[in-house]
């Protein structure tokens, strides 16, 4: 097999400690490998914790069951936010950054000690947050800890430790790339996936600095060093951290989409320029979206809110819509080039639907775009936000993006990390075939149940809505859909964790034999290099089906968006 890795000599000396992967022919630095494993393990641990809490709080909001008492509900809600929205995704992203900055660039990890220090701080910070919230009733402040709600100083310290640790690991990503370039480990431009990860890393630096701007003063304030911390200022800085943290997810997830598509159907990006421009749009505009959380806050003008909430001119949305075309288009071309050419969607029917990397990718793209993206843009519209702010529609939106989208993609990617990086055989493959579907159906129902409840005015972060006395029977139904969805999603989560644990804890270390897990013995990564320009441009292979899909998406987007303006027009006059 031809080598995919570039053939520059590695600088000799003790610094170089690597193996060559038998499947991908990429060089894997051993320091990077251990860092990837350590971060991935912590990601799975925090996911398991967050998932357990998810189950308990969902069964509480399911009004017919109403499991926990109020204090435990709010306590576990706090931890669910911290463990899922921050710990799980950031740990996984760190694993991704170490992978992208070494193996994909044919490079070594240039600062392993620094990275370990960062990992250690993140681990201590993450576990500390869990302990503080579990054992200190004062620290039940939910994930956002809105000032003047005052938690224990250790609560803020745990956030700071985690954020600084993450920042340090992100810095090693930049160090690795700089060193790799200087040592000429790769030539020319970064591969597209690394370019996307670089976007995520740059966004992460900004995000973590904003986090410091919010949390460091809160820490000093909780110690009593000053008396008054303006709640509006806190919100501004907190969301400069909280929202962009999810944009880091987005950029990392889209990079993983490109990788999954290449690893399972052997795509070649349709147009590198097009895809890279889309990442650049994220880089410049997406962090303005922090304003989404401040749309009905006092003290801000219409102009400030409108410019920021729309990412200047929905330019970050444009970036996502470009990826939404370019990834399925590349998949369509690759599959058509293999001869699946019948009709508009023959290629899609013939996709490897039993390959978790493929099904996970498709589930993730559908839930992220069709539910998460559409609802996100709509509720991020300045005036429409008045109908939505702090109702269950809000978590309905971000459970579609972060759970159905990001988490599904990260889970699917894990199944390939286990043989390639952990070098363990993937166990329970049959489960892995089903897991993306189970998890996807569950998280879709969670989102829809929340959205429909929120449309009827049900508040988020509320232990018992029956106090309001305005709960129609239809809310009971939509909350039950949310609860049933949560049970299914948690089942999918347990399947994932069982597969991962069964694979990494049992059996001997084993060099991987093939890239695909169930759907064949070919190597799509290698196939992708054999796609010729002629095949890419062949009239037969053009992505007609994808074009139909994206236009259908646009119609759905417009219907949902305009319906919300209509709903707004029916409520009381307010200015």
């Amino acid at each position: 097999m031809a080598s995919l890795s570039q053939t520059f000599p590695w600088t000799s000396g003790a610094k170089d400690d690597y193996r060559v992967c038998g499947v991908t022919t990429l060089k894997v630095d051993m320091h990077a490998e251990r860092l990837i494993i350590a971060n991935a393990v912590m990601a799975v641990v925090t996911l398991a914790l967050g998932g357990l809490f998810a189950l308990l709080i969902a069964l509480t909001r399911w009004q017919a069951i109403h499991l926990l008492d109020a204090a435990w509900f709010y306590r576990l809600l706090t931890l669910h936010g911290i463990d899922m929205l921050v710990a799980w995704v950031v740990f996984f992203e760190m694993a991704g950054l170490h992978f992208g900055s070494t193996a994909l660039l044919n490079a070594r990890h240039a600062a392993p000690k620094l990275a370990w220090a960062g990992w250690g701080m993140m681990t201590v910070g993450g576990l500390m947050a869990n302990f503080v919230v579990l054992f200190d009733p004062q620290s039940i402040v939910t994930f956002t800890a809105y000032v003047p709600l005052k938690a224990h100083p250790l609560f803020y310290l745990s956030y700071i430790l985690f954020a600084v640790g993450a920042l340090i690991q992100v810095i090693t990503f930049f160090i690795n790339i700089t060193v790799a370039k200087r040592e000429k480990r790769f030539e020319g431009s970064l591969p597209l996936a690394v370019f996307g990860l670089m976007t995520a890393a740059i966004l992460a630096v900004y995000t973590l600095l904003e986090g410091a701007a919010a949390i460091v003063p809160a820490f000093l304030w909780s110690l009593g060093m000053f008396d008054y911390y303006d709640p509006g200022i806190y919100r501004n800085f907190f969301w400069g951290f909280g929202h962009p943290a999810q944009q880091v997810n987005l950029a990392a997830m889209v990079s993983i989409w490109y990788m999954l598509a290449q690893m399972t159907v052997g795509i070649r990006p349709v147009n590198e320029k097009f895809s890279r421009l889309a990442f650049i749009l994220y880089l410049f505009f997406i962090n303005l979206g922090s304003a989404h959380h401040l749309l009905v806050d006092p003290g801000l003008t219409f102009a400030w809110k409108a410019v920021n909430t729309s990412y200047a001119m929905y330019l970050a949305v444009l970036g996502s819509m470009m990826h939404a075309f370019s990834i399925p288009a590349a998949m369509e071309i690759a599959l058509r080039a293999k001869g699946y050419n019948k009709g508009l969607f023959g290629w899609l029917r013939n996709g490897p639907w039993n390959e978790p990397g493929f099904s996970g990718l498709v589930v993730s793209m559908i839930l992220f775009g069709w539910i998460g993206g559409v609802t996100g843009v709509t509720i991020g519209t300045e005036q429409i936000n008045m109908l939505v702010h702090n109702t269950l529609r809000l978590p309905g939106h971000f459970h579609a993006t972060v759970v159905g989208g990001t988490t599904t993609a990260f889970m699917a990617f894990t199944y390939y990390v286990i043989p390639l990086i952990f070098r363990k055989e993937l166990k329970l493959k049959k489960w892995a075939v089903w897991q993306p579907y189970v998890y996807g159906v569950g998280s879709a129902l969670v989102s829809l149940g929340m959205i429909v409840s929120g449309l009827q005015g049900v508040a988020r972060r509320n232990w018992d809505i029956t106090f309001a006395g305005v709960v129609p029977g239809t809310v009971e139904l939509s909350l039950a859909i949310f609860g049933i969805g949560a049970l299914i999603a948690v089942t999918g989560g347990i399947m994932y964790i069982t597969i991962v644990l069964a694979s990494i804890l049992t059996g001997p270390r084993k060099e991987p034999e093939g890239l695909l897990l169930v759907s064949g013995t070919n190597n799509p990564l290698l196939d992708s290099t054999k796609l010729t320009d002629e095949q890419m441009e062949d009239k037969q292979n053009q992505p007609k089906g994808t074009l139909v899909l994206v236009f259908a998406f646009l119609v759905w987007f417009a219907v949902y968006y305009l319906t919300n303006w209509w709903l707004l027009g029916r409520t009381w006059f307010i200015r």
């Binding site: 290449q262 349709v270 590198e272 009905v296 801000l300 929905y314 008045m386 508040a459 309001a468 200015r575």
Partner: protein, 180 residues
Amino acid sequence: MLAPEKIWWKPMGRMEKTWLTVAFVWCVFLTVMMPLWYFMGKQNVPTETYRTTPAEFAAEVNAFVEQYKVGEDTINGITLPVVEAPAGSDVYIRASTWQWYPILQMRKGETYRLHISSMDLQHGFSLQPVNINLQILPNYDYVATIVPTSTGDFTIVCNEFCSLGHHTMIGKIIVKESGE
């Protein structure tokens, strides 16, 4: 995942150009909708805000209740004043853990300047079932100019977490026909 060709800056294909143009036009439309509604629409997010302090705002609320109190009602077993000010006046609601004070009475179709502020933590003003939601912060006097367009009893739910009794924080607005 793999290194791109040396020169990857190539013209886009016809389909990419089509989609990019359509998507861009859609983005422009999304952008235009907000200012359009700002000038033409009847439901806009209030922006009028004044600096205040909990003590100062509480004094204003008390003076308001004293002047315009018309009755009493109970929520969660606590007796609260029902207050009705003439159409066009400034009316006040005070948020504190875990109470909305007082109960307001309004007339359909009339305009009111509704002041809301918090005495302690952040709260969420969520008027149901008309589903209007605003964030309420301490030290910020948030003024919403509102016109009720329907009659009945409306519930104010708190939808920002304000420690353990958060879900018990319920308030009320009563809207009657003008002539009643």
